[in-house]
């Protein structure tokens, strides 16, 4: 690995993110915060949802924002840069193994996912208060879960970014991202699916389930959630799987 080239690429990504700060902000937070407002404020305020729902919802929204930011920030630029303009070429020709170019993308995506996750909590809390009670009892586990969630979302972005052409971005959202969000236990705990046993087992293939349950388990442990051991194992499994698949796809795409 070439530390200077790696850091220069991170600096380049940070520079581009700074330049696109406002659109990036809207794209990352507008949708999750509208969900928070409608589900947590309007529906709770009008009595359709119990008041505790606010606390249950917030970790799910954090998972959703992190995964959205991680996937988007890696996949969308890559899809553009691998098109016929081959914009990524200057980085592929930098004096560094090309796997590190992919890893740099993942690290940049992780940082954006973590920033999104850590920003959405106070923003959501401000929108929902009073009545949100987060109790962070195991901060180290929380940090571990958050890091693993960031890694799987950025690696997922790498896989998608290297597998999809520009013409199919819309399809990616309808076929991959939307089902992942709706079946990702973001708005409801996994245990709420107990009356739908087939679905309850099937959603375990969705990495977002472990993200939502993990953040719920560390931020609001009083609600039912998957065991943290299962969460960590699930996230680690998807991290390895998606990172390996992403690197493989990156090589296929980068070298003719």
């Amino acid at each position: 690995m070439n530390r200077k080239a790696f850091l220069a690429m991170l600096a380049r990504d940070a520079h581009v993110a700074r330049r696109n700060f406002v659109p990036l902000l809207l794209q990352t937070f507008l949708q999750p915060l509208m969900f928070v407002f409608i589900f947590g404020r309007v529906m709770v305020g009008s009595g359709y949802m119990p008041p505790e729902y606010k606390s249950l919802l917030l970790p799910g929204i954090m998972a959703l924002s992190m995964v959205g930011a991680g996937i988007w920030s890696v996949a969308m630029p890559l899809i553009g840069e691998f098109q016929f303009t081959h914009e990524i070429e200057d980085r592929l020709l930098a004096p560094m193994d090309i796997s590190w170019v992919a890893i740099e993308k993942v690290v940049a995506g992780m940082l954006q996912a973590l920033a999104a996750g850590l920003t959405v909590i106070p923003a959501g809390w401000a929108l929902l208060r009073p009545g949100v009670e987060l109790s962070l009892q195991a901060p180290l586990t929380f940090v571990g879960v958050a890091l693993l969630v960031a890694l799987f979302s950025a690696s997922g972005g790498l896989v998608l970014g290297c597998s999809i052409g520009q013409a199919h971005v819309g399809l990616m959202f309808s076929l991959v991202v939307a089902p992942m969000i709706f079946f990702g236990c973001t708005y409801y705990p996994w245990s709420a699916l107990k009356n739908f046993p087939i679905l309850q087992n099937a959603v375990l293939l969705n990495p977002l389930v472990y993200a939502s349950e993990g953040l719920r388990g560390t931020l609001v442990p009083r609600f039912p959630h998957l065991s943290l051991l299962a969460v960590l194992a699930g996230l680690a499994f998807f991290d390895v799987l998606l990172l390996a698949a992403g690197l493989r796809q990156f090589h296929r795409k980068a070298v003719d």
């Binding site: 303009t85 914009e87 020709l93 052409g165």
Partner: protein, 340 residues
């Protein structure tokens, strides 16, 4: 340090479109690809056993028509294309095995501008310098010098998305020189440039070469190859068909001059008669109506040819005279024009 290039029996076959010709990939292009039951795609041979020695500090040209294998050769030498078989070295480093060492030595200008559209012209140069480990002071200074040299100063702080093709091309070349590489690869560098910018580019290439750098350029423009290159390889269908200095190559065409003739319809006897004329070195029928005469003089032969044709009762419809050129050489070897 001066660095040369060597290839031995390079072969590259594609099962899909060759590089740079590919459009958007399929929705799921890789992971599930092998499960599709489609008949195998036809194999395209892009390079067919290419062996080359490019000396340190020379300007070497690869001349050939589109699809001859020029970009594939550059792709392999710059780590961007994996050879199907054969080997290539940049200096002492084998390209496919020592990619990082090779990338340090080379600067690459691709056929199509591949600039980072998220950055301004100046940022493109400065970040490129940073990828190559230049210190912050040094990369700013070099970027300034290159912006001046390539006449890009007044647009330096604009996003490159709005640049014209010629400006993008100039910036691509400036970027490739940013880390002062020992070898500069230029794939069709003057395609799409106006004559004035082309001359500026030629001047910059020569200047860079004078500082001891090796330059490999590809072109299908014979004037460019002739004006710029110290040695040339003419390639077609992934093979070298001729190699030498422009002068040697031009001299290797029988006679040097080429007369392309069109008749109402010619006969073997008539062509036989042409062959016996003084100054005619070789006669080739292209079809029933055309013939190429390789000769050592040009216009002065035309009256004789017209007389012979009319004596044989054949109508001479068209005569085209080419002075000694690389175009004639390509035609002599392949029977096709470079421009076709």
């Amino acid at each position: 340090m001066v660095v040369g290039i060597r290839t031995r029996d390079l072969r590259k076959t594609y099962n899909s479109s060759p590089p740079f010709a590919a459009g958007a990939g399929g929705f799921v292009s890789g992971a599930l690809g092998h499960k599709r039951r489609k008949p195998p795609k036809p194999e395209i041979v892009a390079l067919d056993g290419l062996s080359l020695d490019i000396f340190p500090a020379e300007i070497f040209g690869l001349l050939g028509p589109n699809g001859a294998g020029k970009s594939t050769t550059v792709g392999i030498l710059t780590t961007r294309v994996r050879p199907t078989s054969g080997q290539a070295w940049i200096g002492e480093h084998e390209v496919w095995k020592k990619q990082v060492a090779v990338k340090r030595l080379i600067g690459v200008v691709a056929q199509r501008p591949n600039l980072d559209f998220s950055l301004t012209a100046r940022e493109i140069l400065v970040f490129h310098g940073a990828y190559f480990g230049l210190g912050s002071q040094e990369r700013i200074q070099r970027a300034e010098a290159l912006l001046d040299r390539f006449k890009l100063r007044d647009r330096a702080d604009q996003m490159v998305r709005g640049f014209s093709g010629g400006m993008m091309q100039r910036l691509s070349i400036a970027r490739a020189m940013m880390h002062d590489p020992q070898i500069l690869f230029l794939d069709e560098p003057s395609a799409g440039l106006d004559p004035q910018t082309r001359l500026l580019l030629w001047e910059i290439i020569r200047e860079y070469n004078h500082s001891g750098k090796t330059i490999l350029l590809t072109t299908h423009n014979m004037e460019e190859a002739d004006a710029l290159c110290q040695r040339l390889a003419i390639i077609d269908h992934g093979r070298i068909i001729a190699l030498g200095t422009p002068q040697e190559l031009k001299a290797s065409v029988p006679g040097g001059f080429l007369l392309r003739l069109r008749f109402g319809r010619h006969s073997p006897e008539l062509l036989q008669r042409f062959q016996t004329r003084v100054g005619v070195r070789e006669v080739r029928a292209t079809d029933h109506h055309g013939a190429d005469l390789y000769t050592d003089r040009g216009g002065s032969l035309v009256p004789e040819i017209a007389n012979l044709a009319s004596a044989a009762g054949v109508e001479l419809c068209d005569v085209h005279i080419s002075e000694p050129s690389l175009e004639n050489l390509f035609l002599h070897h392949t029977g096709r024009s470079l421009r076709e």
